[in-house]
């Protein structure tokens, strides 16, 4: 097993003015499950393909273990890949599909057989070994693709959206299966997805990317609770964090955030940071997660300085929780996540309270989180 290290890695395609991946620095620990996440075109797949050796690195160094592998062919990097378009070899049965990579590397027949059967047992596809890919369901094909990678017993697994061809139910199931499998195999895994739920549930650490740049690399908890900028704050979490543009003002010894329909007090701890960084009197963006907007009377009573009034335009009740689409606060809809048993309905005017200890303030120009910036 081995870690992977990328040092000042760039990818620039011929004829393009802009780099697809810019100054990518990351140290991926041995046995770590790292997820690269971001919108399409952010460079996450390109980064993975560079690690795989499918794309040349324009600049910088890539280490697998202690070895620089920039000029090493994919077959000699000791990695195994599972991609979105897992093209199973159509003319081979499941056994042959899984054995092919080993056969090419001239493994002994009994060793190939042992590895294939062991992987098949792990993935519960032993009964499918004689079948051709055409006779398999989507989920079964996906497991064969995983099996093909597992038999290689690589130092690093690389997975690029391996679940995106599956339906929602199967995806959830396979998500858990892959997590369990990787824990059992104790192998480094780099996983690319556009789906932040997948990233949050699977990764030991997540790298959020945008426009070829790393925005933040941290554990799921840190990303969710301490996003470094507006992009990460908006990308992680569903429904997304609400953003309200307003002004910070000093009022009778306390700092207040004022915007259309909002006049709330910023807690002392946060207020002193804002004062010391010179944000009083300036326009800022306040970020509030939907679950930090409360409708419970006890919370409202205990938070007289963070009360807001809004009207409900739409409610979406999912059973265990409900989303309220509120108007009258800032320019856009604000979404609140409340208990599914809530009796609030569309068209009602409601009194709610913000949990001001959990809000984030972003600089309007740099879009950096004021509380996280050094």
């Amino acid at each position: 097993m081995a870690g992977v290290r990328l040092e000042h890695v760039f990818k620039k395609y011929p004829g393009s003015d802009k780099a697809s991946v810019t100054d990518f620095n990351l140290d991926i620990q041995d046995k770590e499950f790292l997820v690269l996440v971001g919108p399409s075109g952010c460079g996450k797949s390109t980064t993975l393909r560079m690690i795989a050796g499918l794309e040349e690195i324009s600049e910088g160094k890539l280490y697998i273990g202690d070895r620089v592998v920039n000029d090493v062919a994919p077959k000699d990097r000791d990695i195994a890949m599972v991609f979105q378009s897992y093209a199973l070899y159509p003319h081979m049965n499941v056994y042959q599909n899984m054995a092919f990579g080993l056969k090419l590397r001239k493994f002994r027949k009994d060793e190939i057989d042992r590895r294939v059967r062991e992987a098949a047992r792990t993935l519960e596809i032993e009964h499918l070994l004689d079948r051709k890919p055409k006779a398999l369901s989507g989920g079964q094909r996906q497991r064969v693709a995983l099996g093909r990678a597992i038999v290689r017993e690589p130092q690093v697994f690389l997975m690029d959206e391996p679940l995106s061809n599956l339906d929602a139910k199967l995806r959830t199931q396979m998500r858990a299966n892959i997590s369990k499998l990787m824990k059992r195999l104790e192998t480094t895994c780099i996983y690319v997805t556009h789906d932040q739920t997948e990233a949050m549930t699977m990764g030991d650490r997540i790298v959020v990317m945008k426009d070829g740049l790393i925005q933040q690399a941290a554990t799921p908890e840190v990303l969710y609770n301490h996003p470094v900028n507006l992009f990460v704050a908006g990308f992680i979490g569903a429904p997304a964090m609400n953003f309200l543009t307003g002004q910070l003002v000093e009022d009778g010894g306390s700092v207040r955030f004022r915007a259309t329909g909002i006049n709330v007090e910023v807690p002392q701890g946060k207020a002193s940071v804002l004062r010391s960084k010179g944000y009083i009197g300036r326009e800022v963006i306040m970020g509030v997660r939907p679950e930090d907007i409360h409708e419970e009377p006890v919370f409202i009573e205990a938070s007289p300085n963070s009360i807001i009034n809004a009207s409900i335009e739409v409610t979406e009740n999912l059973g265990h929780e409900a989303f309220l689409y509120l108007t009258g606060l800032g320019k856009d809809n604000v979404i609140a996540r409340v208990d599914g048993r809530s009796t609030l309905r569309e068209g009602q005017n409601v009194k709610l309270a913000l949990d001001m200890n959990k809000v984030h303030i972003f600089d309007k120009d740099t879009e950096l989180n004021v509380f996280e910036a050094e």
Binding site: P14, G15, S40, G41, A52, G53, L54, E55, E56, D71, A73, P74, K75, M81, F83, S85, A87, L88, Y89, P90, H91, F100, K103, L104, K132, K134, A135, S164, H194, D195
Partner: protein
Amino acid sequence: MQNSKLQQLESLLGAAVELRTVPASEWEKAGGTPDPEAGETLPVPGGTRIVIRASGTEIQVCDTELALTELERKMLHLLFQQKPGRAAAATDMERQARKLGDWIVQCSANGEWRAEIPDRIELRSRLFDGMIPFLLLREQADDKEPSYGDLEKAVRSFITEDTLLIPLREHEWLILAPDRLLAETDALEEDGESGEEKAILASLASGLHQMVSGEWGGECHAAVGEPIDPSESIVHTVYILRETIQLGRKFHVGMQVHLPWLVHLERLLNGIPESVRNRFVEEMVGRPDLFNDPETVSTLDAFFSMDCNVSETAKKLFIHRNTLLYRLDKIKQEAGLDVRSFNDAVLVRILLLLYKVTKRK
């Protein structure tokens, strides 16, 4: 090009060279031949331009300040034409395959598309009726390129032992596999229809592409054709597959497996003179920057690839159906073309293809 090769060239010329990539149109405009070979040279203001590699619409060149004489240019061309390791073909099989490959390249250069394989080519006897042709084009530095032996071993392991690997031009390989592969793949359904056969061929090509790029990396393009009788149509098949890869790379950047039966429209559009294409695009697109937006292009590409099915397209793009409808409405407002109606969809599809080759430079 490898740095060591670049240094060798500098040392040979006794002058610095600068590696660049130029559009094929620029090369032709300067007086270069269409579809140039490695080693071809062209006097340019301030020196000489040497072709390192031509790949579709782009040409990798080296510029030097030296003004080369006609003799020097010829010798340089000759030098580039020498393929590494050719003199020492490892096996008899490789020698025979190279002989056949040279004959195909020669016939292609002379436009003899229907030429029959002559008796002097030993491999003729192994080219039986019903072989599946694959064309592989790899773009990789020479030191990362697999040897004939390595690639042959991998291909035979992957397909069958009687598969033939024929080297053509630099980094270009023709693979001929017995068509019984189709029957083996389609064992469950005996009466495979033509659509089914094409789907199998496409997945075989994808598998082959995945195997080769997974082993050796680098940019690799693959095309596959329907089964042929190689003794009569091998040159023509190579021509079709080359053209398919060229069209695929031109019109569908990012795709690496290309299928001749999916580029009919592209072939037709490619034949239209550039000035006519430009005029059509300018007249039809109300807002010239519409297709500059990558989101619009990827949305339309996905929409057409999913046969204009809104739900399937939304699923493919990982977006909500309403988001897709909003995007399509936006295109309708800005370009005046509603891609959900057949006639407008045809126009937008053509516009999109043309736009990709006229504006993306």
